[in-house]
Symmetry: C3
Subunit: 356 residues, 3 copies
């Protein structure tokens, strides 16, 4: 992985009064470009083959310019162009997935956030180690499938947008469905309601919800819409449908907005706080947006089943503010907050604290 | 149906600096009036018996004046009054349903949109011909009920707000539930998550997402709330409830907001584009708002099960902007966009291109 | 309960040009403080042990000052301090629940709303008497469990955030699950879709939707997110899960936004109207925000299963306006509307009409 020193060297030559943000044209790019424009930063869209036409329909979210590549594997070839344009890369889930974790880690362009998180996040065992050492309650892990006693969720490693998960009720179920060629983990299936909590950690802001260093924000929440699991109940129960060959799947197709009861906020903030504090110790800390993917049980406990260490697509619900971010600043989006953080880093001479 | 020439003649005598918009007080009228007011157009509410009191509670959406009729069948009698007031009629689903397609087609008042779409939209066979010739993927149609092999949705013809649909799992199910006096169609039941996509086609705007002529916009999305299908799972599965005499029904009671993952946008725009382009060829083209009613499968395919060729009530979620329309113009609603289109048509001398 | 005269005496000494609003730091306090700030009123947060840190993350919703108590039972001890600060208490569900109805009723601080409603709302029998005499359709009550014929919802008395409800399908079900030590009521289970309707009654406003005295507003709607009932369908039907020892529970964890079809608005307003008019007769009238908790059936009938006579947490979805309140005033929240009402009462010399 590229070192902080290498990135600092590149940054030395940046004109910090003329920064641009750059990201891959997918996932949350409309919001990222829109937010950057609101903050007066130039915007660069990295796209395949030709600029996606849909940006023409959204003039306030269209990047100022496009850089076209033939394949996401070619992004390393545009590094010089990005650097020449004073670009700061904003990673999102598709960006990292399309390029591959290794290539993304090597990309010699200043990137918002701490790339050291990739290693901890992409392996479910390390992710669990991080979160559990932070005191986060996760669904129990079942190491030996023969120990499956109640419903479990089986997940293959690596981000695949929810594809390939399945619920098994017992060992027989598991054996029938498992792909023996894939690395998997087995988690207790937590019964409750899903909340995806959108946080933002700033190592350079000094006012707000203070951590040992920097501040924590909570911008919004969403619930992912999963096809077909969210709607097959209209046809029948999973057990009834199994005989018809219809199995529940968990592919994310979009998001719905929601809020949590206010009395959960102290717990919600403490979860975000513990994850950040632990990350500071183990890999120098997450920076910017991250998401805790949780289930709230009927005991009002919050179990975290996954973490995303960058902007999540659920924030796309809120380009003009959310029921929470409006309490920070009217109409604030996470994309806009990223641009604010970059401007703040530049003005404080602390860009090296938020880029890697 | 009234001809374009007749409408042009009526328009000749309009004071285009003093236009009003008029619609029936239901469906999406609050949004339509609110949007027109934001654009400075006068507003006329057509209502039964007496002005609905609820407008008093919403002063920013209350029409400037009401025209009272005893029955929606009497709307033809107020044509002269509407014309004298330089009124342009904004049709919505209830407007057309209450008046009846034939009477609406004959109404001698300039009407936003192309009335020729009515014929194509109100008959499910013609609708399917239109959409499939546009290359849209629809749920398979089953012509002979004996060919039902998996779950199907049986729909009676004509818009009835979701009433009278039923799911059949096989031929026996079908026979038991079908009303032999109604014209019906049988569609494969697509398992996935429902998205109602709110588009807007302008034949006169020249910037944005360009079609062969005019531009395409996508304003927002919703999911309809259907009673009781959306909540009976809390009581039991459809099969379990059948014995208790409780059957799923699909009556629309409202709408929830949602968004789709950004990587679906190219496909979403191409669906809207193909439907518009095809409509240009077969009946001169849709104009203004339309909605594709879809299911997104776990293969991230989008199946279109119906089209509405005018403003849909799901847009009522967004009188002050949506997560998409905010990228076009802050706080833009579909109702407001209709008013903008009328003002643009007037200023360009092209009202005849958007009225019929 | 403290009398209106006692409150009037206290108010005599208030500096009405320097009013503050005070509430307990939970439930809907962010919205209440945020709304009051927008209206220029001072804000006081009453909290346990120490100020909750999460307010630091929401600067626009953080109260100007905190008053710390060791236990909610100690709130009576801060009465003099509140009065010295010209504070008006804004009650919410947690406020009343934490203090206890009796202590809250005695609190010698001017309180927004009519405390006489407490008695009618906290006892399910009196609540039913109120609503049914107003002509509201409620789910049928089953007095003798042996009369259970179809699915019923069994509710224990007192507000407990949805905990302890259960569905019984017959008398055997009921016997198996009932806690014999709790007072309960049995309601027919209405199949349909849930809508929580957020109203506001002002006895002093003179324009808008007029009642016999004052005006009625409808600000927004939500659907409560209930753990685990809203998501267990992903695992199996209630009957299938019963054998695995997993029972549906109805604990509110948050809220999702939604709207109702516009043609339901006349009925919705008439429900709010009848509840207010009846309350004027039986206890002098509700004041300010209240919520009707309803199910909309597939006949488009609205059954009311409960009333909350103060601000509900579902309004937290809309700190910057809702699809309805935007038609009243752009970005209007219920919290802001409360502050407006207090300012209006002060300017008209009619604070005694809205406080108790």
């Amino acid at each position: 992985m590229i070192t902080k020193e290498q990135i600092s060297d590149i940054l030395q030559n940046y004109d910090i009064n003329n920064l641009a943000i750059a990201t891959v044209c997918s996932h949350s790019s409309l919001q990222i470009f829109h937010g950057a424009r609101k903050e007066g930063l130039r915007t660069i869209g990295i796209c395949l083959k030709s600029p996606p036409r849909f940006y023409d329909a959204f003039p306030k979210a269209k990047p100022d310019e496009f850089i076209v590549v033939d394949s996401y594997k070619d992004i390393p070839n545009i590094v010089d162009e990005l650097v020449a344009k004073n670009a700061i890369v904003i990673p999102h889930g598709s960006f990292v997935e399309y390029m591959g974790t290794d290539d993304f880690g090597e990309l010699a362009v200043p990137t918002f956030g701490n790339r050291a998180v990739l290693e901890w996040e992409s392996d479910r065992d390390m992710e669990r180690k991080w979160l559990e050492s932070a005191g986060i309650h996760m669904p129990n892990e079942i190491l030996d499938p023969k120990d499956i006693k109640g419903p479990v969720m089986v997940k293959y490693h690596g981000a695949k947008g929810g594809r390939g998960f399945f619920v098994a009720k017992n060992y027989e179920d598991f054996k029938e469905n498992i792909d023996p060629n894939e690395k998997y983990s087995i988690q207790e299936f937590i019964v409750g309601t899903r909340y995806y909590l959108h946080f933002f950690y700033s190592p350079i802001r000094t006012e707000g919800y203070q951590l040992s260093t920097g501040t924590l924000e909570m911008h919004s929440m969403d619930r992912r819409v999963e096809s077909n699991a969210d709607e097959i109940f209209r046809l029948g129960s999973p057990r009834e449908l199994e005989s018809a060959g219809i199995l529940p799947t968990y592919v994310v197709t979009g998001n719905v907005p929601l809020i949590a009861r206010e009395s959960l906020l102290p717990l919600i903030f403490s979860l975000g706080e513990r994850v950040v504090e632990e990350s500071l110790g183990i890999f120098g800390g997450m920076i910017g947006p991250f998401c805790l993917e949780t289930v709230v049980t009927d005991d009002l406990e919050i179990k975290v089943f996954e973490i995303s260490a960058r902007i999540v697509a659920g924030t796309n619900l809120y380009p003009s503010g959310s029921p929470y971010s409006d309490y920070i600043e009217e109409n604030l989006s996470t994309g806009q907050r990223i641009a604010q953080e970059i401007k703040l880093g530049a003005s404080l001479g602390q860009l090296d604290k938020i880029l890697s």
